[in-house]
């Protein structure tokens, strides 16, 4: 009985130690600031968008809801740790007459702070600074603006992927 008990304990101990070992390999050497994004924007444009009868045009600008995408920055060592969010986009299909901009509409929740990014700025193909913060912040809301729309933009499905990169300062 004693031997059996010891054997089961040994097996459990070995399993736990093995689990710890595997997990320790997955852990970063130092804590790393991370960012997550929740949400996307899909915008159908149809004849219902026309500004009147035949002969008229489309609105030149479309705006998403003010919380279309929410970012969370976490994994900081505390409120003294500063970071910056850079933003860029990678187009799949795009028309050069279209512009795409973003602004921050909320500061989110958390003990850290957050500044800038509250006016529309174009999202380009290369990284540009969007806003700054300290500490962990959750649910930082973003709003988007599509500009340059007109009937001259050929019928097609246009798309782009927006990348948010948190930079530890």
């Amino acid at each position: 009985m004693m031997n059996t008990t010891f054997r089961m304990i040994d097996i459990m101990r070995a399993l736990l130690l093995l689990t710890c070992g595997i997990m320790s390999f997955a852990l970063p050497a130092n804590a790393t600031i991370g960012v997550t994004a929740i949400g996307s924007w899909s915008l159908p444009i149809t004849a219902n968008d026309l500004l009147g009868l035949g002969g008229c045009g489309l609105p030149t600008m479309y705006e998403s809801t003010n919380n279309q995408v929410a970012l969370t920055v976490c994994g900081t060592s505390g409120n003294s740790e500063s970071w910056r969010i850079d933003i860029h986009r990678s187009d799949s299909i795009w028309d050069n007459r279209l512009t795409f901009s973003v602004k921050r509409t909320g500061g989110g929740l958390g003990s850290g702070s957050i500044v800038s990014g509250t006016t529309y700025q174009p999202i380009e193909a290369t990284n540009t600074a969007f806003f700054f913060g300290t500490g962990d912040r959750a649910n930082i809301t973003l709003q988007f603006q599509l500009g340059g729309m007109s009937v001259l933009v050929p019928a097609n499905t246009y798309g782009t992927e927006i990348s948010y990169t948190v930079v530890d300062l």
């Binding site: 304990i9 459990m12 101990r13 736990l16 130690l17 689990t19 710890c20 997990m23 320790s24 997955a26 852990l27 790393t32 600031i33 991370g34 960012v35 997550t36 994004a37 929740i38 949400g39 996307s40 924007w41 899909s42 915008l43 159908p44 444009i45 149809t46 004849a47 026309l50 009147g52 009868l53 035949g54 002969g55 008229c56 045009g57 479309y62 995408v69 970012l71 994994g75 795409f100 988007f144 599509l146 729309m149 007109s150 009937v151 001259l152 933009v153 050929p154 019928a155 097609n156 499905t157 246009y158 798309g159 782009t160 992927e161 927006i162 990348s163 948010y164 990169t165 948190v166 930079v167």
Partner: protein, 181 residues
């Protein structure tokens, strides 16, 4: 031994939780944007077309003069895929023109923004569709009183021997923006 096992178990759970957190977060996150610009073909014919009345000539023996009206415009918005075009055509869908007469339509030069197309030559209106503007791409003509394509109608006597007195002939013309080849 129990304490050691507990410690090891807690360590394992913490490692598991931290690893799960670490693998769900990275320094770059993404979101997507898509806009589906649909094809559109919306047409409006302005009101105000007058009656075409063939009047007696002022001099006996003279031919009956043709009469015309150019008070109306075709105004359209077209959004179409790259490489495709549309045609604006017209035909008589109800009624008929008086015997011995011919009704012709001449499109004015299209105006507006974008590829508004090219006017075709004068056509004789029948129940078969005739193209009056071709090569229409993505465009809009505008909606002002004189925007778009002027529609010039001309009623003339083509066979005087067939012309008979009628009180009134009313016809309906139907204009269509069709996808071209």
């Amino acid at each position: 031994m129990k304490q050691l096992l507990s410690l090891v178990a807690i360590s394992g759970l913490m490692a598991l939780a931290t690893a799960a957190f670490a693998t769900g977060v990275s320094t770059t996150a993404t979101s997507s944007f898509n806009t589906d610009v649909n094809e559109m073909a919306v047409l409006n014919i302005t009101s105000g077309a007058g009656n075409l009345v063939l009047a007696a000539p002022s001099t006996g023996g003279a031919a009956i003069a043709a009469v015309s009206d150019s008070a109306t415009y075709a105004q359209y918005t077209s959004v179409i895929a790259t490489g495709k075009t549309r045609i604006l055509d017209a035909k008589i869908t109800t009624g008929s023109i008086p015997a011995g007469t011919t009704l012709k339509l001449t499109a004015g030069v299209p105006g507006g923004t974008g590829n508004v197309g090219t006017k075709a030559s004068q056509v004789t209106l029948t129940s078969t569709a005739a193209s009056i503007v071709t090569g229409i791409g993505s465009c809009n003509t505008g909606t002002g009183a004189t925007d778009g394509v002027n529609l010039g109608y001309q009623l003339s006597v083509s066979d005087i021997s067939s012309v008979v007195l009628t009180s009134s002939n009313s016809i309906t013309l139907t204009f269509t923006l069709n996808d071209g080849a």
